[in-house]
């Protein structure tokens, strides 16, 4: 087992494990790095497709090569499709295999609780102070004032549809859930247990008697209803996608016409001149706010800090936003975005709009502790995973 060379990053793992599953902080943060040292020459990242572009998708879209030239850190990226996969990858080889991850809120707390990621010194990332207020210390990456990552991009899971087939433009998720849907057999759905929250979101609007407030904190009764809805939806689904091409291919070929998507798929299909559009329907949407986190056993911690610094700059945030379709966390990037794409920055991206962000039901790990008056009666992610298997097995 290799030892990580730089002693800048503390063995905060021990501290984190002590603070696990309860959130009570014990020892004060020791050995937080105070400066970024020389790069190690390499950087292993786990990321969502489209987050680490090196010109392979489009020669003009590249924020990796300039980074490599400037810091000497050659990036090796693995694209993961689900938060579960990201968590598993970050634990490979005792946490030494991958240096950093662009974790969504449903992975971050698990990684923090298990001690897989280290606390970061936000002072080493100068652009951090420009991050929009609600993402500076959100619950999904800040525990008791300790930051465990640098915010990257955020966005909703939109309703993507084929403009030639789905007319008029949909305003509700209805045609992806109800058996009366005219698009039976051509609907897309995300193939991971976290999608249960989308069912809960629909039920929250259409079945208020269930009393769903937080779509990630469901009692058994609420979970049962969500699972029933998902099983009802199953015959409508063409394929449960996790890899983005499992959605862009069928949309291209006409095998899928409507369904939940990340802004990346919408951008991609538009760049292929396919007739698609996206909308956030009236029931709202689930979504994600992604954080770059550093492994507690990172082999290349300096390069990782350099990356976190790099990806928080307005220029890079703007580039990513324009390519991926997600919204930047750095408020200064919004000015750049407005310069480049005009009004769309506010209408489509809602850049810098705190209210919009608040309305997205951001991915987070379902916990037994409901976090409200219901106490510890909610179903946790393990139960979600098990029930999800039921849904997938029925098709």
């Amino acid at each position: 087992m290799k030892r990580y060379r730089a002693n800048l990053i503390a063995a905060a793992g021990a501290v984190l494990v002590l603070g696990a599953c309860g959130g009570t902080s014990s020892a004060p943060a020791s050995n937080l790095p105070q400066s970024i040292g020389t790069g190690e020459g390499a950087l292993n990242l786990v990321a969502w497709t489209g987050y680490v572009e090196s010109g392979k998708s489009d020669p003009k879209v590249d924020w990796v090569t300039p980074f490599q030239t400037a810091t000497g850190c050659t990036i090796n990226v693995k694209f993961a499709d689900t938060s579960d996969e990201m968590v598993t990858l970050m634990r490979q080889g005792g946490g030494t295999q991958w240096d950093g991850v662009s974790a969504s809120g449903d992975a971050t707390n698990r990684l923090i609780a298990h001690g897989d990621v280290a606390e970061v010194n936000v002072n080493l990332v100068p652009d951090f102070k420009d991050v929009i207020p609600s993402l500076q210390s959100p619950k999904h990456n800040t525990i008791n004032g300790k930051h465990y990552g640098i915010p990257y991009m955020y966005g909703p899971n939109v309703l993507m549809y084929n403009t030639q087939v789905v007319n008029p433009a949909p305003t509700t998720w209805k045609d992806t859930w109800e058996t009366s849907s005219p698009y039976k057999g051509k609907v897309a759905a995300y193939g991971n247990a976290i999608f249960i929250a989308d069912a809960a979101l629909y039920l929250k609007a259409h079945n208020p008697s269930l009393g769903i407030s937080d779509v990630y904190e469901l009692t058994t009764k609420q979970l049962d209803a969500a699972i029933a809805l998902l099983k009802q939806q199953a015959p409508l689904i063409k394929k449960y996608w996790t890899a983005t091409t499992d959605e862009t291919d069928p949309f291209s070929s006409g095998d899928m016409v409507i369904g939940t998507a990340w802004p990346y798929q919408v951008s991609f299909l538009k760049s292929e001149n396919k007739p698609v559009a996206a909308v956030v329907p009236s029931e709202g949407a689930t979504g994600w706010a992604d954080t770059w986190m550093i492994s507690s056993h990172a082999q290349h911690p300096n390069c990782m800090y350099q990356w976190m610094k790099w990806t928080e700059t307005p220029a890079v945030q703007d580039q990513v936003a324009e390519f991926y379709g997600a919204t930047p966390s750095n408020a200064k990037a919004c000015d750049l975005l407005r310069q480049h794409i005009g009004a769309s920055a506010d209408n489509d991206y809602h850049c810098g709009d705190n209210a919009f962000l608040k309305n997205i039901a951001l991915w987070k790990t379902p916990l037994q502790d409901c976090g409200d008056s219901r106490g510890a009666t909610c179903t946790d992610y393990t139960v979600w995973s098990q029930r999800w298997q039921e849904v997938r097995g029925t098709k």
Binding site: K56, S57, D58, K78, Q92, G93, Q97, D246, D249, E272
Partner: protein, 293 residues
């Protein structure tokens, strides 16, 4: 066996030929499409193709990742083949020459890695390597890939060698001893030449098995990227798919030579049985009565 003309009635001959043609079409249309798509100028996979272009060949040639993955696969293949050659021939000699308790069991154990679904083998090895990681500091690397591949390549070599040994008269060995050769000399001058082509054929098959392996490799490779793993990772990236098509086409054409060689070398033993075909014969062997010495 040779025959000058078939004894089946004409209608049957024509019928069989027709169906065979259709089956061959079924087998080859996808392969031809892969080659065709390698010349697809667009990155979309829609049909019909907008034209023909060699731009992706250029892109593949310049792609460093492909080269690295290819070299890793070659190294893994050579490593696994070497191990398989040594272990497989040793096993073949042991089982051919000796009657011992558990003889059937040994040939059965050799088959298992190929007979059991790859995911079981992969998972089992993955658990062991993880445990080894905890206890001995073992980590996923090229060596773990080689170990995984060698485990199911052994039976391929074993089968080819033992089939050849069965066709080699034992009197040759006796004659060699009568002429004064010691064991090593007999091996070097009598036995080895006889099984040489079986070793080459078995080695080629083992190499092919290892080179295209993905099911088990997913579990044993860690962050090492073999060519199949590179393909697996890049099929999901629309801009890399054309490169994958090029790689696959080139490999397909390049493999014509080893296929032909392997086929010629195993001609007399009933033609080429593929790596997994080795399992068939091994199972037959496992159920056989011990051959008379």
């Amino acid at each position: 066996m040779s025959r000058d003309r078939a004894i089946e009635p004409r209608s049957v001959q024509v019928g069989m030929r027709l169906v065979s043609g259709l089956v061959l079409l079924f087998l080859y249309v996808p392969l031809l499409l892969i080659i065709l798509y390698a010349f697809n100028p667009a990155r979309s996979q829609a049909w019909p193709l907008p034209g023909l272009s060699t731009r992706w060949f250029v892109a593949t040639w310049n792609n460093a990742e492909v080269r690295t993955a290819l070299i890793t696969s070659l190294k893994a293949g050579l490593g696994a083949t070497t191990v398989a050659l040594i272990l497989g021939s040793l096993a073949a000699f042991a089982i051919h020459r000796f009657r011992f308790f558990g003889r059937e069991a040994v040939s059965f154990i050799l088959i298992l890695p190929l007979a059991l679904p790859g995911i079981v083998t992969g998972m089992a090895l993955n658990s062991t390597i993880n445990l080894g990681g905890q206890l001995l500091g073992l980590s996923f690397s090229l060596w773990t890939i080689i170990i995984g591949h060698a485990t199911f390549c052994v039976v391929v070599v074993y089968n080819n060698v033992i089939a050849r040994l069965r066709r080699t008269a034992t009197s040759l060995v006796e004659a060699s001893s009568d002429l004064g050769a010691d064991g090593f000399q007999t091996f070097r001058y009598v036995i080895l030449p006889n099984i040489a082509t079986a070793l080459v054929a078995g080695g080629l098959l083992a190499f092919a098995l290892s080179f295209d392996e993905i099911i088990v490799t997913n579990f044993t490779s860690g962050s090492e990227i073999t060519l199949p793993k590179w393909i697996f990772n890049n099929l999901r990236l629309p801009n890399q798919r054309p490169v994958v098509n090029v790689v696959a086409s080139v490999l397909l054409i390049a493999s014509l030579v080893p296929v032909y060689i392997a086929q010629r070398l195993t001609q007399e033993s009933g033609g080429l049985v593929s790596g997994r075909g080795a399992v068939v014969s091994a199972i037959e062997d496992a159920g056989e009565q011990p051959a008379a010495p």
